[in-house]
């Protein structure tokens, strides 16, 4: 197996290559506005650093959010195109699961905790975990200030928690998910025969769309002539 993993659902544009036993190479750039510019060069860099060819890839794993939509879609559509052109499967991983997995790997948490990323507009994307591999609630999107005390009292990882220290009582690292953790999480689940997610965005919200307070029809209009 040679699995390419990446995630663009947070300000971290992160790419890693995993060969079933270990991470061969990785690259992470923090830039909330340039996912579209940084991801593809990051993929090429990681393949080159590992000395592997794109044709050797057997699997793609991509973070499917939740996350700000514009950046999130960059990762997912890139994964879909790579998978389509190379004829290999594309697996989805909840970005918060990758962040939680990274927290477990880095041993910043032991028991139950919450992972949170920035959803802008005073909101966070969040999920609650019993341990680094076990999500028990979420993913959801809520105003940081509206979260239940049973959630905010837990140790919290991620930039979404760090942004709202008044809401989260016990903020820890890591700040962002990284693709090395995402890759290890995906490899572990695939090896255990467990399902991953479809490569589709976890938007959690319906699109913002206002129906304009438009004109009323001024006259009863039938179908156009010749229609």
């Amino acid at each position: 197996m040679l699995l390419l993993a990446f995630d663009t659902a947070t300000p971290a544009v992160t790419v890693a290559l995993h060969d079933d036993s270990r991470v061969l190479a990785g690259s992470t750039r923090i830039d909330a506005r340039r996912q579209g510019e940084l991801l593809a060069p990051g993929i090429v860099d990681v393949l080159r650093a590992a000395g592997r060819a794109r044709a050797e890839l057997t699997d793609i794993a991509v973070g499917v959010g939740p996350g700000p939509y514009t950046g999130l879609r960059v990762g997912i559509v890139t994964a879909l195109a790579l998978g389509d052109a190379l004829g290999i499967p594309v697996h989805g991983v909840c970005t918060l699961d990758a962040l939680a997995y990274a927290a477990g790997r880095d041993a910043t948490v032991a028991g139950p905790f919450v992972a949170a990323t920035d959803a802008r507009r005073k909101e966070v994307y969040w999920a609650r975990y019993d341990d680094a591999h076990t999500r028990v609630e979420g993913p959801s999107v809520d105003r940081a200030g509206d979260l239940a005390a049973t959630v905010t009292a837990l140790p919290a990882v991620g930039a979404g928690a760090a942004l709202y220290p008044d809401s989260f009582a016990d903020v820890r690292g890591p700040e962002h998910p990284d693709a090395a953790a995402l890759a290890a999480f995906a490899v572990e689940r695939l090896a255990a025969g467990l399902a991953l997610l479809p490569p589709e965005p976890l938007y959690l919200r319906r699109p913002d769309a206002q129906v304009p307070a438009g004109y009323k029809a001024v006259t009863p209009v039938g179908p156009p002539p010749g229609a």
């Binding site: 514009t70 990762g75 195109a81 389509d84 699109p207 004109y215 006259t219």
Partner: protein
Amino acid sequence: MADEPLVLGIETSCDETGIGIVRGTTLLADAVASSVDEHARFGGVVPEVASRAHLEAMVPTVRRALADAGVTMRDIDAIAVTSGPGLAGALLVGVAAAKGYSVALDKPLYGVNHLASHVCVDQLEHGRLPEPCMALLVSGGHSSLLLVPDITSDVRPLGSTIDDAAGEAFDKVARVLGLGFPGGPVIDRWAREGDRAAIAFPRGLTGPRDAPFDFSFSGLKTSVARWVEARQRAGESVPVADVAASFQEAVVDVLTRKAIRACKENGVEHLMMGGGVSANTRLRALAQERCDAAGIVLRVPRPGLCTDNGAMVAALGAEMVARDRAPSTLSIPADSSMPVTVSQAVS
């Protein structure tokens, strides 16, 4: 010719996911998935709805184009994509997909200008563009007159709309008349039953001191709305077909008059029309009439190639390859305000 480059083109600047495949100047496939029905109830394109639809449609539409063209992914020599101008989030889906295909296939990427692509698409129907040619681009997003000495590297804007695009005026007038969205096709159909001289709507920016090649459609749109509202207030019925025909005539009269003048003043003998509004039957007829009278050769692609599509992007990409232009880097951004003078995003 089999040795001409096989180019896959990706277009996602607005609400159409367009995938085209061309070999040189030969069209092999033009697959389009439109999200227009999802926007209709909003009366205009909702960017987030369009972006979501592009993501879902991307791979299936690429697959459809490959099947239509009878080629495989491995046959592709280059990937072209609209890198701007357009809706930022929508463009980004196409640009990211194009980079994904470029990386996977190890083939060059060409990030090209949407407006230049609208001009270049005519090569798929009428062969190589004459140089220079004049281009009148009219759609829901743009209304421009361009002098084009070289579509890959030298596009000179002579004028453009100072307010609404021509297509926007069609949408707004259709809304005033209760005809729905999008307005272009429905007004075209109603206008055929109406009298285009029934109402003398104003011709914007046609005074002696006005910019000769700029357009303005905002005053026209307001004038139509006022005329209709006055009839309603008086309790009279609104002659929809006559309003549609008279409004449409005001738009196409100005567009064609200025385009012919631009050709004459610049000594250009070929006028190319593109963009969604150039599918309008009255615009095509009046442009032909006036070009014939002025001794100008008119080139208009068939309506299906005038609206946004992937074939036009592939056509410009193929021209970049044919002229040995260096490919774009994998770092090019999606540039929502890419100037028309830049045919290709380099890095």
